[in-house]
Amino acid sequence: MATITTSIDNTQETPGHRAPLVIGHHTYGSITETVCRVAEAPHPPRAWYIAFAISVLLVLMLGGLITHLLLTGVGVWGNNSPVFWGWPIVNFVFWVGIGHAGTLISAILFLFRQNWRTSINRAAEAMTIFAVVCAGMYPGIHVGRIWLAWWLFPLGPNQNALWPQFRSPLLWDVFAVSTYASVSAVFWYMGMIPDLATFRDRATNKIKKFAYGALSLGWTGSARNWHRYERAYLILAALATPLVLSVHTIVSFDFAVSQLPGWHTTIFPPYFVAGAVFSGFGMVLTLMVPARELFGLKDLITLRHLENMCKVIIATGTIVGYAYAMEFFIAWYSGSRYEGFAFINRAFGPYWWAYWTMVTCNVISPQLFWFKKMRTSPWLMFIVSIFVNIGMWFERFVITITSLSRDFLPSSWGYFIPTWVDIAMFVGSFGLFFMLFLLFCRYLPIVAMAEVRGVALPQPTDGHAEHPASH
């Protein structure tokens, strides 16, 4: 796992001279070597085994709990009057939100010509898909009778007498999330083809050769291949861009089309999208800080990449803070006593602890990134990224639970308490997420080497870094 590290600080940039995106005197060959080594090493690092074992155990627990849920009924959760949307929806929104960073990095940052995305886009896209898998699980099992989950889709309305409620954002969600999942998966896979071909060409045994060969779809690296690839990448990026916005917009509609104070407010769509990007980048940092250490990728995923992610986090975290402030101000300004109560109740009611956890983690903790020291110390930013993850879970908890637990009718007010199944299932979903991610790290190209090669070597002028061979 030896890496060539130099003392270059590529977080410092003299205006007019772009700091290198890859450090350590790499050549095209050595970049390939660095990335392939992760998958080609006979054994992954010991930490990988430990993490994988824990994840698999958690997945087994999750499977057991889902069986328990299906055999017993959704009553095993804490969902009950007046909070019928409990942790399952909180966890669903939490995971879907996390699944926003990957496609944002690959699609939107691509359109904005942000070349630094090349070192992190692959892992972030993988993470996106795994997060969407975790998210998709919750609505599926929330229906209780899982064998009827296909009723969510408008399959043969006449034959089956199934008429899904097209006016419900919950149905729009089915389309939004499944479209997003499929486009993200296609985008991820298509982007991987050149790197899979590299794996194929370096494969040392028949099984690998066959598997990577089949997956790389006969890629030869010819000019025609690249031309088609770049075209497809641009088109997919343009198609994926509105999807990044639409998914969490529609998730926000699930809440905001209602008349419930705390749910119904017009800023929800952009606020949810900003929050999703915020939580997604938080999770990317959580994963990449250890991964670059563990797999010797510090020359490719440099401090500069981490610093840029910190900047995205401070920007989106502050947008979320802006939305909190607008909600509070308008709750007063509206003159509606119910609106006013909903927000006073959030901050000073029985769930005050959740509200202030949310504000501290989401709005205050990212402000630490105003300090360069914080943006350039991997383990400090790792801690903040954990806070971001916690804060964004609490945000969904606060929105869902506080508004439901005390609505218009005080006689039906209640206090939501999760059951052990709620908690253990949420923990189990992390197991699923990490298990998939660890498998990805071990068997697929964790960094988009073809793209990194395009931006790695010093350009003829520092002026025009944005001309990678790969797009």
Binding site: L234, P270, G335, G463
Partner: protein
């Protein structure tokens, strides 16, 4: 991309191109047109019964219009510094100059501020004590909606904007002389925290001058809606300015088809962003159907206002969305010019739709010479003011350290 491909750039030659280098006629015409426009608007307002009330509203639309463009410009400059953008250097100065328009436009608000201080119900009913006494719900908002706090807030908004616009231009012009890269870092350090204050000042400006026209109504997204339209109008303006300047032989070789293409992409992007904000606001209010919220849209869906609403849907979104999508359009001078002018008109329709229904709830749209006079007048004075405060600035940054990136810029 090699240096050899980049056009040769001589700062000495470029430094001679300023707004002041335009002909005497071009420079003197703006304030004459401005004053004439306002005079015509005023005279026309005397001819009808409710003319002066209409004049106040129409004048407010015109002010909100130019402020939104200058704010869009200020936002653009700040974002270019924060992101250390290279491609945009040759168009950034135009944005710096447009943002300076916030300084001369501030005193133009005085007549309206005076109306507020006098307790007139025009344009803000909440400024009137008698009205408040009859409307307890709005009375309850007076801790915020009162004339003194209103004035204090507006002094803060414009003081901050003026400071920021001046600082961006002053530092950038200092770099014109010295070429010191450290100035770019200084600008970056200014821009990042300023964006926070910018977001809040713009939002509350929109609440104060536009949302509080119907003080019973509220929407958390309203500030972002105004922002989206303003940034879109800024990209339309700067594209149009580039096209017109180049048609008259200025900025040759500095702004190329590649920059126009990118400006067109941003224009397209903000057309979409505006539509996203508009549909978010509309759909959520329509769906929940809570009377105190739907009233605002109800006015805009009846008595003839529905045609203005439909005009916005198609003119401000559907048609430009289809029209600007193609790469060919964004790289074609004539077509891009058409869409910039189209969208600048639509931005006015948008503000008209925000403001005027408050006055003509039952009678429907009322449009005439007063509105044209106000727009011509305010835009004329805004441009004249920009010439006065930034007329001697070269049209491009002369020694920006990232200049070579912008000159050599090519789309993929």
């Amino acid at each position: 991309m090699h240096h050899a491909d980049a056009p040769t750039f001589d700062p000495e030659v470029a430094s001679r191109e300023t707004l002041n280098s335009f002909s005497d006629f071009a420079r003197s015409i703006t304030w004459k047109v401005g004053l004439t426009g306002l005079a015509v608007a005023f005279l026309a307002s005397l001819l009808s019964k409710n003319g002066q009330v209409h004049l106040a509203y129409s004048y407010l639309i015109a002010l909100a219009y130019v402020v939104s463009i200058s704010l869009g410009a200020l936002f653009f400059v700040a974002v270019q510094h924060v992101t250390r953008a290279g491609w945009s250097v040759t168009v950034r100065r135009l944005a710096e100059i447009l943002a300076m328009g916030l300084i001369p436009v501030a005193p133009l608000f005085l007549p309206l501020v005076l109306l507020v201080l006098m307790g007139s119900t025009t344009p803000f009913v909440w400024a009137n004590a008698k009205f408040l006494a009859e409307h307890p719900l709005i009375q309850a908002k007076t801790p915020y909606l009162n004339s003194i706090f209103f004035v204090i807030r507006n002094v803060i908004y414009f003081a901050f904007w003026a400071w920021l616009a001046r600082r961006f231009l002053t530092l950038s012009r200092r770099q014109d002389v010295t070429g010191d890269p450290a100035i770019s870092n200084q600008l970056e350090a200014t821009a990042a925290p300023s964006l926070l204050v910018f977001a809040l000042t713009l939002t509350f400006f929109a609440f104060d001058w536009l949302m509080s026209l119907q003080p019973e109504w509220f929407s958390t997204i309203f500030g972002v809606y105004y922002f989206a339209g303003g940034v879109m109008a800024f990209f339309a303006t700067v594209s149009l300015v580039v096209i017109q300047f180049q048609a008259s032989g200025r900025m040759q070789g500095l702004v190329t088809v590649e920059h126009r293409h990118d400006l067109g992409k941003f224009l397209f992007g903000f057309v979409c962003f505006w539509a996203y904000m508009a549909i978010s606001q509309y759909l959520l209010i329509w769906y929940a159907n809570i009377p105190e919220e739907t009233e605002w849209f109800s006015i805009r869906q009846n008595n003839g206002w529905e045609y203005v609403s439909l005009l916005l849907i198609f003119g401000h979104f559907v048609l430009p969305f289809l029209g600007l999508m193609s790469r060919h359009v964004k790289r074609n001078v004539g077509l891009l010019r058409f869409w910039t002018v189209w969208l600048l008109v639509m931005h006015w329709v948008d503000l008209y739709w925000l403001v005027m229904p408050a006055l003509y709830r039952e009678t429907g749209p009322n449009f005439g010479v007063v509105d044209i006079g106000c727009m011509v007048g305010v835009i004329g004075l805004w441009l004249a003011g920009i010439q006065r405060v930034a007329g001697d600035a070269p049209l491009v940054p002369l020694r920006d350290p990232r200049m070579h990136e912008s000159l050599a810029f090519h789309n993929i």
